[in-house]
Structure formats: C-alpha cells, structure tokens
C-alpha cells in the first residue's frame, strides 16, 4: 500500500526569504484588525453587554417582519431578530436590559415577549433564554480579558523557562497576533462574540502555542546540531522538517472541526468557526511571526563555535 504524503520528502521551501514581505503583511493585517475592532466594535452577546435573549422554535419558519412588529409593539427597546440554525425555524430575539432596576423587571419583559409571541404564533415553543444583568456582564468581561491575558503571560513564562528568552518574546508576539486576528474576524463578520468565543480564543492560544513549541523545539535541536549554520538557515531547515507534521496535524484537526461545524448544531457554530480560523492563523504565525522573529531578536547558535558573529547582537544564555 502506498501511503499518503501531503508534504513530499525533502521539501525545502524558502520561508525565511519571504520574511520581510510577511512582516509587512502581518503588520498591515494586524493594524487592520485592530482598526476594525476599535471602529466597528464586536457584536457582543448578552453575556457581555447585559440584556436578554429569547430563542423560540416554530413549527414552520415564521415571518420575521410579523415577529418584529409583534415584539416592537411592546415598546421594550431595540429588538434584534436573527434566524439561528439552518432551517429558519429557530429565531433568537434580543432585547436590551429593561431600564427599570426593580427585581421583576427582566422577568416581566421575558414573560411579556413570550406571551405576545405565543399569541401571534401559536406554534412557538420555548427553546432557550439568557438574561444577564449589567453587573454580571461587566464581571464576565473582566474575567474573560483576565483569562486571555493570564494565558498569554503564563505561556510566555513557560517558553522563557524551557527555552531562551527570545522564544518567550516571539511566542507572546505571535499569540497576540493570533488573538488580534480572531477579534478582527469577529469585528468583520459581526458573528456574535460571547463566552464560548472566549473559550475558543483560549483554545486557539493553546493550539497555536502547541504548534510553535514543536517548531521551537526543532530549532533548538538544530541549533545544537548545526553550530555553524546561520540562523536563517536553521529556521528554514526546522520549519521544513516539521512541515509534514504541521500540515498533518492541521488537516486532522480541521477534519474534526469541520465535522463539528457541519453536524454539531448551530449552538456551537460561532465557536467552531473561530477555531477553524484559529488553526490557519496559528499555523501562519508559527512560521512567519514567531520563528521569523527569532532571527530578528538575534538568536543564533552557540557563539563560542560560531565563526561569523554579527556585530551588536545580544549574547544568548
């Protein structure tokens, strides 16, 4: 049986020579992503802005206009309707938090909406509802941001302890890039950004770091093996040597994720979409952000046996 090889033996792609271009592109995309997030903002879910979301399931896809006017008539603020799922039978109704702070206010709003919807559409069935008060949503934002920041710091520290400091720095920069691209994607597509997406971001960080560690590990190994090779050569060699693994792993995870995207139901769709994007972004940043950055940060094989030290580069411990 002839086995499948996605990457032919002895592949030698000149990754490093494209480094300058890639840096430019990466920088441009990162700025664009940051700009998008700042200018358009994220379509934050109920978890993060407070308010309420009611999902009703109908036997037949309802007319969104009728549904909108039904809810509008209650004068509860800006109504946002969205068909979730593929068959158009489940509709999510989003409303801002009620202005009144008295304890029953939100419950009354939920009850009012449900009563009105059931009256206009007798086939409506309760499917899901989320109510988050302003205080809680602020706490959740705080926790989410803290989690991402801690993850980046923790992983950076691990890389510094296990490898040289350059690995720590380049890894952290690459992760920040990954997070930024994911946020940019959500700002661009207006997909809802909720708690599950924070989990996705953390998983992307985990996956991306996984990928980087594998390449970093190989770079370190090759630095010991080929003491006279220049850093660009070592990075190119290491990236090429690990390329079959990079491609294989990405493809397997993508296979699993696509299965989840297509068959896993709409509730997980945003999460899965973010993960799929993260696989691409993470793989790209392993090669063009973290590995390439190692060269710029002045990492090179043990200087004691290096016969052509570049001037002004810091010593590596």
């Amino acid at each position: 049986m002839r086995l499948l090889k996605l990457v032919p033996d002895n592949t030698n792609l000149p990754f490093v020579s494209l480094r300058k271009w890639a840096f430019g592109l990466t920088l441009l995309l990162s700025i664009a992503a940051l700009g998008l997030v700042l200018a358009r903002g994220l379509n934050l879910g109920v978890d993060f802005v407070g308010g309420l979301m009611i999902e009703e399931k109908f036997d037949t896809p309802p007319s969104l206009d009728t549904l909108r006017s039904t809810v509008d008539r209650l004068n509860l603020g800006e109504v946002r309707l969205q068909a979730v799922g593929t068959d158009g039978k489940t509709i999510s109704i989003k409303l801002p938090p009620p202005p009144s702070t008295d304890d029953g206010a939100t419950n009354r709003v939920v009850a009012q909406v449900q009563a009105a919807v059931t009256k206009a559409f007798p086939d409506a069935k309760f499917s899901k509802q989320d109510v988050v008060g302003g205080k809680v949503s602020n706490e959740l934002i705080g926790k989410g941001v803290l989690a991402v920041v801690l993850a980046v710091i923790g992983i950076g520290l691990f890389a510094v302890l296990r490898f040289e400091w350059q690995f720590g720095v380049s890894t952290v920069v690459a992760i920040v890039h990954d997070v930024l691209m994911t946020l940019g994607f959500f700002a661009l597509t207006r997909f809802e950004f909720d708690l599950n997406i924070v989990a996705a971001v953390l998983t992307i960080i985990g996956y991306s770091i996984n990928d980087k560690i594998v390449i970093d590990d190989r770079i370190r190994e090759n630095m010991r093996r080929y003491r006279k090779m220049d850093m660009a050569g070592i990075v190119d060699l290491s990236v090429n040597e690990t390329l079959p693994r990079t491609v294989m792993t990405s493809v397997t995870i993508l296979l699993a994720l696509f299965a989840l995207l297509i068959f896993g139901g709409y509730v997980l769709r945003g999460f899965t979409a973010a993960m799929i994007l993260g696989i691409f972004v993470g793989t790209y940043s392993s090669i063009y952000v973290s590995s390439s950055l190692l060269i710029s940060l002045g990492l090179r094989p043990d200087p004691k046996v290096d016969d052509a030290p570049a001037a002004g580069t810091p010593k590596v411990g």
Binding site: M1, L3, L4, N10, K57, D103, N107, V110, K125, F126, S127, Q129, D130, V131, V132, G133, K135, G144, A147, L150, A151, G154, I155, F158, A159, L195, N196, V198, A199, L202, T203, I205, G206, I209, N210, I213, V214, D217, R218, T242, P244, R245, M248, V251, T252, I253, L254, L255, A256, L257, A259, L260, I262, F263, G265, V267, L268, F271, T272, M275
Partner: protein, 529 residues
Amino acid sequence: MQDFPRWKVISILGFLACLMALAIPSFLPDSITDRWGGFPHPKVNLGLDLAGGSYLLLEADTNELVKNRLEAKREEILNDINTATPPIQIGDISTDGGKLSFLLRDVRQLDATRELLNKQIGGAGMTGQRDWDLSVIDGQRIVMTPTQAGITQAVNTAMSTATDVVRTRIDKLGTKEPTIVRQGTDRIVVQVPGLKDPKALKDLLGKTAKLEFKMVDDTPYVAGGIVPAGSQVLPYPEGGPQAKILVKRQAILTGDQLVSASQGFKPDSTEAIVNFAFNAEGGRKFARITQDYTGKAFAVIVDGQVISAPRINTPILGGSGYIEGRFTVQSANNLAIALSSGKLPITLKVIEEHSVGADLGADSIHAGILASCIAVALVVVFMIVTYGRFGFYADYAVVINVVVIMGVLALLNGTLTLPGIAGFVLTIGTAVDANVLINERIREERRRGRSVIQSVELGYKEASRTIFEANATHAISGLIMLLLGSGPVKGFAVVLLIGIVTSVFTAVTFTRMLVVLWIRKNRPTEINI
C-alpha cells in the same frame, strides 16, 4: 527498545481497561444502573445545555436588609422606652443616613437610657464585637450606628436562611437533583436540570412571601387624597391594574405562625385557592380576631400587595382558612409553596439566567454525538491512509482515549456540556498530533538511513520531549479556563484537561507498546510509514 516486560504490558492494558470500564455506566439508562444498588456506578452528569434546565444567579439586596434592620431596631427601642419605668420622654427619632438617632427630652435620664440601650447593642456572633455603636452628642442626642461586623453577621444569617428557603421551595417543585450553592457574600447559584418552565421557578424565588393580615379601613378614600393617620394605601391588583385599597397600618396577624399552605379548590367550584393553617397560637389569635371583627373586611397581603379583601362572615375557629384571589392552579400552587417554605429574610434578584429547553438540549446531544462520530471516522481513515499500520495504532489509541476521557469524567463526577463535546472533538484532533509527531520523526530517521528499530526508538524518544512541552503549554490555557471560566466554558476546560493527560498516555505509552510488540514478533527490516 524491545525491552517491554510482560508485567508492563499487563499493567498498561489493565489500567486502560479500568478507566474504560468507568465509562460504561454513563452509557446505560438509569433504569439499569439503579438496580445495581450499592455497586459503584459513577456517571457523567449532563450540563444544563444538554439536559435542558435553568441556571439562575440570585443576588440579595443587602441595602434593603440594612434598612429593614434599622427600622426593626427603631421599633424595638421605641417599645423598650415606652414600657420603661419611670417613663423616658424622647422625640425627633430618625433613621436618616443609616443611623438611628433620637433626642432625650430630659437630660437627667441619660444614664437610665444608656442602661436600657446597652441591652440592645449586643455582641455580634462569637467574636463579641458589637452590633451597634452608641454615642451621645451634646449630652442629649443619642445616636446608634450599625457596626460593619454587625451588618456582616446579619447578612450572613439572612443568606444562610435564604439559601435554605430557596432549597425548600425548589424541592417542592419536584425536579430532579437541583443544586443550590451560596456564592460569595450575597449570591446564590441555583441550577435546576430538566425544568420545563423557568418562569415558574423565577416567580417562586422572586417572592419574599411575607404574609400579613390587616383590617380594611372603611373611611371613604379617593385616590391621591389624604390618608387617615394609622392607615396606608396598598395596591390591590384584583380591582384593576391601578386599583388601591386603604388598610390599617398595624398588622393583626402575620404569616410567621403558619404551619402549612397548599393549593386547593373552593368548595363546589373550580376556582383555585390557597389553603392555610396556623399553629395553635396563631389559630387562637385568628379565632379571636375573626370573632372581634365579624362583619368587617380584612386584607390578605402578600409582599405588600393585597391579594384579597374578604368580609368576615362568621368567626373562623379551626385555625385554618383559605385565600382566594383569581388564582390559576399554578399561581395558587406557587403561592402555597412560597408561604409554606417561610418568608425570605432578604429580597433576591435574578441577575443572570440561562435556560435551555429540553428539546434544544436533546437536539444538541444528537448533533454532538453525530459530529463526534463523524470526526472520529474522518480522523481514523486519514491516519490509516497516511501512516498505514502506525496510523492504525494511533487510531486504536484515539478511540480508547475517547472512552477513557468519559471514564475519568465520570470518576470525577464531572459534567458534560455542549462545549465539552466540542472539547472531545478537538481532543480527537489534537490527540493524534502526538502520533503525527512520532510517526513523522520515524519517517525522518528512516530517510536518514537508520534501521527500523533505531528509527522507531529515536522517533518515540525525540518526539516525547516535544509532546510533553506542547501539552504542558496547552494545559496552561486549559487550567486558566477552568479557574476563570464559568459554566459551559468550565465544561470545555475539564474535557480538554482530561484529554491532554489521557492522550499523552494513550498516544505515547500505549502505541509504543503496540509497536514494540509488533516489532518483537515480526522483526521487520522495512516498514511502510
């Protein structure tokens, strides 16, 4: 490399078999596992997003508690002072600014008043700290300030009572395995799986269930007019949305002496009512009042709202009666539950709610299982196509790993959520990464011209280090999710973390065993990888 003693093989297989066996009960219906009796059968719990149900985060209104405590103290002190001998004359009593203060008419009574008040400032709990600070301004204005320790103690007591009351009320709803946990100083987390109607639950918990009986004031009254001294105006929904009714301020009887309340029907009618019964003392009081006031109307007030205002036709001597008020069977039942579980000492607000209908939960389970199966199938085929025999070994490991994760999750009494299923699918993808690393390394070593045995040995050795490092960083992000994440995110993190640990074992140790056993038996000089 070939040194793989029999005891090691047996212990690896035995260990995996045990972990896999732990997963079995989770796949069996309750009707079977219930018959096992004392035989341990750990099961994976389904999260609310899969089982359907409600998650509520309740926050107590501590400001209100502090205010009520101040008012109660005011009553207590007025009572003490009014009954003191010789009588103490005071005036200008106020509770403004969170303090209780009053003016002493006769400065000479300062010492007597102090002595009286000293009994009222008590020790807060076991710490012996005071509940109230007592100070005197200008020798005649007495100020009592609540201490922080006293407030904390009061909130604490109220919260533990409230948690008990919430538990009693939810238990009476008759749902399966609700969890009620106090969180922090002023919050309660309530999780009720399999609940059909979250509204009923919220209604039930939102009720303080303070029951009072007050006499109706028959003085003619027009809305917005002057309220007679000693009376108050209360909302009376039964008379219309804006209707109000004039009642005497003084409660003639409260719900503290209720012993039971239940939903019933009015005799010879289908109208839902709430039956209630007092204890002996309450019953006597009730009898006396209904005798004294026969022919007059009294108001039944729950949480400051008049439910009904019936006229007392005949004295009620048995210590029991019923409340009517255009109830539905359900609302009557809710009120009955609330009344009989005692009143909440503190108002609870729902500040976060996530409810999932059982249908959506079932849909999610089906979708999740389908997606997992397809993911496993795709990955299995892909690995065999790419690595042949070695891919097959990796597949073995992946499938075992999925079952082992379930087993460990059951052992830890963990909860499987929808994101948890995503964690499974992702673990399927990442678990083979270890094998990919190993197999690619073996391919590389073969290309460098090493022998089969050397290549396999080096492949496992070199890749193991990388696998450890990669998984350690992965675990860092998982741990952070576990610590900071809430609900569903936590469910995801748990599966991810278990998967990281078990996948290293199955993907490295277990496949290495399979490879070594095969090589030892067949002594191949060439491998197809």
